[in-house]
Structures are given as structure tokens and as C-alpha cells.
């Protein structure tokens, strides 16, 4: 690895897969997949805990607590943000830096609005139902599972914004392409976890 890695790549140049063109890139790619494997166990443990403690010790049960309208909108927003990050990576593979930044920007906006809605949702539960982290085992489990996901969204946003700002002036190169790529992998993972939260926590919560 050397200075040639820092040369800005332009559309029409090779390689087609800049994220895997170097050994460092390949290592990052594989290592990050493994990391996501570990994260899967982490969330699986949280899901297991949540299912064991659902409705336990709480005055307001899940069925009464949750409304699907807001959560549905949040789901659509987050799923869309995954799509926009796919567009960003598509443009990265064509070495079109500007379009990639644009689509990542849209991804960040969608992610931030998801996070805003989630904070509103939590506020709503706390104020309307006194459903808090310390009110019951159900509350602890709910806020821990959904909050861990929210924390991941926040970290992902900070990560992508840092990448975008850091590289705004110098464009895409073989050094930062793997960084963009694994950040997008992380974003997809967050999205997949949310699909499970939507199903296990909210949909299954509603049907009892």
C-alpha cells in the first residue's frame, strides 16, 4: 500500500470493485462480515431476553402500548434508507464519487428522521403510559432491545457523516473505498435487525 492508493479514482477507470482491490480492503470486507456475525448473536440474545420478559411486571401490556402507524412509517423510512445506500454503493462501483455522496447524504437524512421518530415514540410511551426503563422488566427489556438498535443507528450515522466529510474534497480512492463499503454493510445490518424488531416486538406485540 502506498501513495497510489490515495490517487483519486474517476468514472470510467478501473477497478470495478474498488473496495476489494487491495489486501487491506479484502481483509476489511471479510472481517466486517465476521463482526456482523457477532452482532447477530448480540441481537439474538437481546431478542431472547425480550421474548422472555415481554409484558412481565408491566401495567400496560404490549398489545395496548404499541400503535402500528408510527412504527410502520419508521419501517418504510429505514427500508428506503437501505435502498438509497445501495444506490450509493452502485455509484461507488462506477467510481462516481459525487453521486455516491449524494445518495449517502439522502441515506443519512432518512436515518436521522428514523431516529427522531424513535425518540418521539419513546417519549410518548414514557409520558402517556409511564412505560419506562425502570418501571418493569418488560420496560427494561423493550428499551434495551430497541435502544441498542437505536444506538446502532446513531453510530452508523456518525460513521457515514465522518466518512463523507473527511473525503469530501479528495474523492474516492482505493484507501477509502473499503471504508465506505463496510459502512454500507453496517447500515444494511441495522436495517435487517429493524425488520426483526418490527416483526417480533410490534407485530407480534399487537396480536398478543
Amino acid at each position: 500500500m502506498s501513495d497510489e492508493q490515495l490517487q483519486t479514482l474517476k468514472p470510467g477507470q478501473s477497478p470495478h470493485e474498488p473496495e476489494k482491490a487491495t489486501l487491506e480492503g479484502k481483509n476489511k470486507f471479510l472481517g466486517f462480515w465476521f463482526f456482523l456475525g457477532g452482532e447477530t448473536v448480540l441481537f439474538a440474545s437481546l431478542f431472547g431476553t425480550y421474548l422472555a420478559l415481554k409484558d412481565k411486571g408491566a401495567e400496560t401490556k404490549a398489545q395496548e402500548l404499541f400503535g402500528l402507524e408510527l412504527v410502520f412509517i419508521m419501517t418504510i423510512i429505514l427500508l428506503t434508507s437501505s435502498l438509497t445506500s445501495v444506490y450509493a454503493i452502485y455509484h461507488m462501483k462506477n467510481l462516481d464519487f459525487k453521486k455516491m455522496q449524494l445518495w449517502l447524504g439522502i441515506t443519512v437524512l432518512l436515518g436521522a428522521s428514523f431516529l427522531g421518530l424513535e425518540i418521539y415514540e419513546f417519549q410518548h410511551y414514557v409520558h402517556e403510559y409511564h412505560h419506562t426503563f425502570t418501571s418493569s422488566a418488560f420496560g427494561s427489556a423493550f428499551y434495551t432491545l430497541v435502544g441498542f438498535h437505536g444506538g446502532h443507528v446513531l453510530f452508523g450515522l456518525l460513521w457515514i457523516v465522518t466518512l463523507m466529510v473527511r473525503n469530501a474534497k479528495r474523492g474516492l480512492n482505493l484507501y477509502n473505498a473499503p471504508k465506505y463499503y463496510v459502512a454500507s454493510l453496517y447500515w444494511h445490518f441495522i436495517d435487517v435487525v429493524w425488520v426483526f424488531i418490527f416483526t417480533v416486538v410490534y407485530l407480534m406485540g399487537k396480536v398478543g
Binding site: 481483509n27 472481517g31 448480540l42 412481565k56
Partner: protein, 619 residues
């Protein structure tokens, strides 16, 4: 960097070098030294436990202090001694065995070490204010209601060091998959590398369960959550599950690499190719897989019901099959071989019957109905010390004797090595064999005293005498380390007439390991060249520039930040101003990560001309 140049540096420069190093060989030394210190601390705790239990109704330590001693002994030995020893051996051997110049992520390697180190230091600082006292398994509600901050130190200390271990696991996975030299196919990898691979998979999938368990306990103890509090609807069995979903694979995380290094050692010192190589690989993978299916055998008496108990009992017994395959393959490797009884081989040969005894009692414990009798007695204590000491500790001693020349360029004194072995080996069986019977006679574990007239006096006295023998063995080994470093015999590249790639380069290796990446032509590549070639590895590439990573102080800062944050979180329950300390720690960590993210770190090149100058000496 060879030791010769290191000696020329001042102390400050050397210290800075180790604080910032990303070289896997130096990180191995860091793991070894810190693991060694924690091992001595844990050993001292064990000695105090045995002194307390030397005679009936003893008052050597108070009951509260006894609880702290047993908790810290178990926690220290598993997380802060055995784990770093495993990582020390993996760091020194794995990259060299696959013909790599370093691990896949040198920076993360350093980060993993410093997180482990600061987690361990945090945990041990609890001694000043009251150590954890709910047992190393920290069952709720005992742990969640334990007064003082001891258990908070347990939770935060293990959380931080666990993060380091996870990072290390991912690092070795990618290293072994992506960084192998040309020709080093999976089925040509030395068994130690294979077991390191499977262990890394286990780390990856087991540690996050502990992470979650520790988070839940932290939320319960420090932030008023109700996961394990039945009055809030909580359920303490969740902790047992999470802990053992991590805890059982952890046993295999520790012992698999040891199996691997025994395979390498037996093959080397029997001058024979490992018997049943592919069966050994298969058994390793199978043990790794089954290791995840058996956690509830620690919970037979929890009340999961007969169906669950039966399933987990059968799965547990099944593990005896691949383990048996290994035992027989080791024996068959030695059979007909030209055996050299070096110190490393002595530990290895002693391991086989000792560990097998632990395996037998394991199958006994797996019988769920019988386990109701054994549960929480000294029978269990005897069992797991037979597998952990008879397996892991013997293995670490063997591995240190074997790879010491590669780590430090000197051979540990063989005579002293054998002199250390005998008291340790005899002491080990004195200490723990009798405990089987103490357990069967009904002596419960974790009790502060036993009474005279219960018929437990003689057994406990023998056990304590054994502990002193083990201490003597350890001290002789330490003396050996010191005397070797002062006037030890300089090691050649291949002092054992060995078979694998790490012995094809000088001891200690140059900091770039391989001047030219070797071409691997078969299993036991160096042996292949010794028999069919000129005894030297054929290079797979022309001499060229070598790319090396830069040293970095950032891993130390990230870990320091999490240490500060841990301290703040522990004490914010007493005074909310400690929250600022926690936030300061978080900012140090995130800030260091930010710096790492925005600063380009491209490494540097060693030029071909410089390599040629060093020429003859280093190959």
C-alpha cells in the same frame, strides 16, 4: 526488531515501543507478561483458599474475604490468565505458521490487547475497595443484590476485556483465511492454526452473549432495570442461560488451541507426521460445533425439565467422541515414533492421562440424574480443574517451552524445565484427585469452612499440600525464565528439528517475519523441504519491497478511555458527578476512534536494497 537492537534503546524508548507496537510478536510478549502477572495473582488467591481449607473450622480469612477470593480466583484465571496465554501463543505462532508477515489487522491486534489489559486492571483494582463476591458465575440475584461495588467492577472489567477478546477473535479469523502463503491450503495448515481458527469462531459467536449478559447486569445494578428482579417481573434464569451460552464455548475456546499445540509438539518430538490429520481437523470442528449445544448441562438442577435435561445430557456425552478421536490420534502419533522427552514433550505426555480423567468425570457429570448428586460439590471442582489445569495450564507450559526460542531467541533450560514439571505435576494430582472423593462425600463447593468430624480433614490437608507443590513448580519455572534471560543458550532458527514454517526463519524472527513469502509444498512444509528439498523454504516471490504497518498510540488511548468510563459508571450511583468522568472516558474513546478514522495510516515500506544488505544474517 531483534532483541539486540532493543537492548541498545533506552528504557523509555523500549516502553514507548511496546505501548505503540502493532507487531504480533511483541503483542504476544505483552499478552504473555500481563497474563503471567494475573496468573500469579490468581495463584496467590488459590493458595489463600487452600490455606483456609487446610484444617477444619479454620479462621485464616473471614467468610466475606473467602467469597471474594473464590470469585476473583475463578474470574482471574479464566479471563485474565488463560485467555491472554492463549492469545500470546496464537500471536506468536499463527502468523508464522501460515507464512504471513503479520496479522490481518495489526492495529486491532494492539487494540484487543490494551482493552483486555485495562479490563483486567479495572477488575483487580476492586481489591482496594472490596472485590466481587458472588462467584465467578455471578448468578443473579446473588450478584445483583451483592452490596458494595465489587460486582460492578466484575461487570465493567469483564465487559472491557471481553471486547478486546472479540476483536482478537475476528482478527485471527481473517488472518488465517486471507493471509496464508501460496500453497498453504486449509488441509495443510498446522493443527495449532486449525484450532486457532475454530477457537476464533467460538469467540466470535460466544462472547456477544456474555456482552449482553453483562449489559443486563450493569443495567440492573447501576441503572435500576429489572431483568433479574422477580418483583419487577424479571427472571434470573436469563442470566444463567446467557452466561453459559458464553461460558461453555469458553471452555473449548481455552482448550482447543491447547489441543492444537499438543498435536504440533507430539508430531515434532516423535519425528512423525500427525496420525489422522484430517480426523483431527474434523474432530476440532465437531467439538467447536457441539460446544454450542451443551450449555444447559451447567443448569441441570435449575429445573428446565426432563426433556431439556436429556437433550443436553446426550449432546454433552457426544463431545466425548471427537475428544476420544484426538486422544487416540496423539497416542498413535507417538507409537513407533522417535520420541524425544524434552520439557515440552513431558508436559504433553502428562497432559494425556490427566485430561482424560477430566473427560471421564465430564461424562459422569453429563448424566443428568447423577448430576443432582454431584452438583455444586467438590466433585465438580475436581472435574473442571482436571480439564483446565491438566489441559490448559499443562498446555501453556508445553507451548512456552516449545515456542520460547521463537519468542525470545533463547531456549528455556531443559533441566530446570523438567525440575519444574515434577512438583507441579505431583502437586496437581495431590490437590485435585482427592477432591473427587471429598465431593462424593458431600463437601459443597464455595463453603468457607468444613467442620471436624465430617471426615473431610485428611482429604483437605492433602489437597492443600498439593497446592504448595504446584506453587513450588511455578516458582522453579519462573526461576528458569529469569536464568534463561540472563545466560540462556542462544537458539538457532530450528532448535527442535521441527516441521512447520515458524522454524524456517531466525529466532527471534526479523520484524517483517519472512523476507520472501515461502512456497508451501505440503503438510509440515519445512519437513517436506528437509526430506525432499535442501532444507530451506523455496520463496514464492522475488525479493521486493515489504509493506509494514505504522506503530500507533491510539489503541492505548481508546482502551484508557473505556477504563475511565468504566470507573465513572461504577461510582455514578453514589454521586452523579461521576457521570462526568464516565462521559469524559467515552469522549476519550470516541475521540481516539475519530482520529483513527480521519488520519490516513498507510504504513511504510522496507526497501529491497535494505533487505539485501541484511542479507545472509537473516535467512
Amino acid at each position: 526488531m531483534s532483541t539486540a537492537t532493543a537492548q541498545k534503546q533506552g528504557f523509555g524508548a523500549t516502553l514507548w515501543d511496546y505501548l505503540t507496537t502493532v507487531d504480533h510478536k511483541k503483542i504476544a510478549i505483552l499478552y504473555l507478561v500481563s497474563g503471567g502477572i494475573f496468573f500469579l495473582a490468581g495463584g496467590l488467591e488459590a493458595l489463600l483458599i487452600r490455606i483456609q481449607l487446610m484444617v477444619p473450622d479454620n479462621n485464616f480469612v473471614s467468610s466475606g474475604m473467602y467469597n471474594q477470593l473464590i470469585t476473583m480466583h475463578g474470574t482471574t484465571m479464566i479471563f485474565l490468565a488463560a485467555m491472554p496465554f492463549i492469545f500470546a501463543l496464537m500471536n506468536i505462532a499463527v502468523p508464522l505458521q501460515i507464512g504471513a508477515r503479520d496479522v490481518a489487522f495489526p492495529f486491532l491486534n494492539s487494540l484487543g490487547f490494551w482493552l483486555f489489559f485495562f479490563g483486567g486492571v479495572l477488575l483487580n483494582l476492586s481489591w482496594f475497595t472490596g472485590a466481587p463476591d458472588a462467584g465467578w458465575t455471578a448468578y443473579a440475584p446473588l450478584s445483583t443484590t451483592s452490596p458494595g461495588h465489587g460486582m460492578d467492577f466484575y461487570v465493567l472489567g469483564l465487559q472491557i476485556s471481553g471486547a478486546g477478546t472479540l476483536i482478537g477473535g475476528i482478527n485471527f479469523l481473517v488472518t488465517i483465511i486471507n493471509m496464508r502463503a501460496p500453497g498453504m491450503t486449509y488441509m495443510r495448515m498446522p493443527l495449532f492454526t486449525w484450532t486457532a481458527l475454530v477457537t476464533s469462531v467460538l469467540i466470535l459467536f460466544a462472547f456477544p452473549a456474555l456482552t449482553v449478559g453483562l449489559f443486563l447486569m450493569m443495567f440492573d445494578r447501576l441503572f435500576g432495570a429489572g431483568f433479574f428482579d422477580p418483583t419487577m417481573g424479571g427472571n434470573h434464569v436469563i442470566w444463567e442461560h446467557l452466561f453459559w451460552i458464553f461460558g461453555h464455548p469458553e471452555v473449548y475456546i481455552l482448550v482447543l488451541p491447547i489441543f492444537g499445540l499438543f498435536s504440533d509438539i507430539i508430531s515434532t518430538f516423535s519425528k512423525k507426521r500427525l496420525f489422522g490429520y484430517s480426523a483431527m481437523v474434523f474432530a476440532t470442528v465437531l467439538i467447536g460445533f457441539l460446544g454450542f449445544m451443551v450449555w444447559a448441562h451447567h443448569m441441570f438442577t435449575t429445573g428446565l425439565g426432563p426433556i431439556a435435561n436429556s437433550i443436553f445430557a446426550i449432546a454433552t456425552m457426544a463431545i466425548a467422541v471427537p475428544t476420544g478421536i484426538k486422544i487416540f490420534n496423539w497416542l498413535f502419533t507417538m507409537w513407533g515414533g522417535v520420541i524425544r522427552m524434552t520439557a515440552a514433550m513431558l508436559w504433553t505426555v502428562a497432559f494425556i492421562p490427566s485430561f482424560t480423567l477430566g473427560g471421564f468425570t465430564g461424562v459422569m457429570l453429563a448424566a443428568a440424574a447423577a448430576d443432582f448428586q454431584y452438583h455444586d460439590t467438590y466433585f465438580v471442582v475436581a472435574h473442571f480443574h482436571y480439564v483446565i489445569v491438566g489441559g490448559v495450564v499443562f498446555g501453556v507450559f508445553a507451548g512456552l517451552h516449545y515456542w520460547w526460542p521463537k519468542m525470545f531467541g533463547k531456549i528455556l533450560d531443559e533441566k530446570l524445565g523438567k525440575l519444574a514439571f515434577w512438583p507441579f505435576f505431583i502437586g496437581f494430582h495431590l490437590t485435585f484427585f482427592i477432591q473427587h472423593f471429598l465431593g462424593l462425600m458431600g463437601m459443597p463447593r464455595r463453603y468457607w469452612v468444613f467442620h471436624s468430624g465430617d471426615g473431610l480433614d485428611l482429604g483437605n490437608l492433602i489437597s492443600t499440600i498439593g497446592a504448595f507443590f504446584m506453587t513450588l513448580g511455578t516458582l522453579i519455572f519462573l526461576y528458569n525464565v529469569i536464568i534463561t534471560s540472563i545466560k540462556g543458550e542462544k537458539a538457532s532458527a530450528d532448535p527442535w528439528d521441527a516441521r512447520t514454517l515458524e522454524w524456517s526463519i531466525p529466532s527471534p524472527p526479523p520484524f517483517y517475519n519472512f523476507k520472501q513469502t515461502p512456497l508451501v509444498r505440503g503438510l509440515d512444509p519445512l519437513w517436506v523441504e528437509k526430506r525432499q528439498g535442501n532444507g530451506k523454504m523455496t520463496p514464492a516471490e522475488p525479493l521486493g519491497d515489504i509493506h509494514m504497518p505504522n506503530n500507533s498510540f491510539i489503541p492505548f488511548m481508546i482502551s484508557l478511555g473505556s477504563f475511565v468510563m468504566g470507573y465513572g459508571l461504577i461510582y455514578q450511583v453514589d454521586d452523579s458527578r461521576w457521570l462526568f468522568v464516565a462521559i469524559a472516558g467515552l469522549l476519550i474513546t470516541l475521540g481516539s476512534m475519530f482520529v483513527r478514522s480521519v488520519k490516513d495510516d498507510l504504513g511504510y515500506h522496507i526497501h529491497k536494497e535494505d533487505l539485501e544488505e541484511k542479507g545472509a544474517g537473516s535467512e
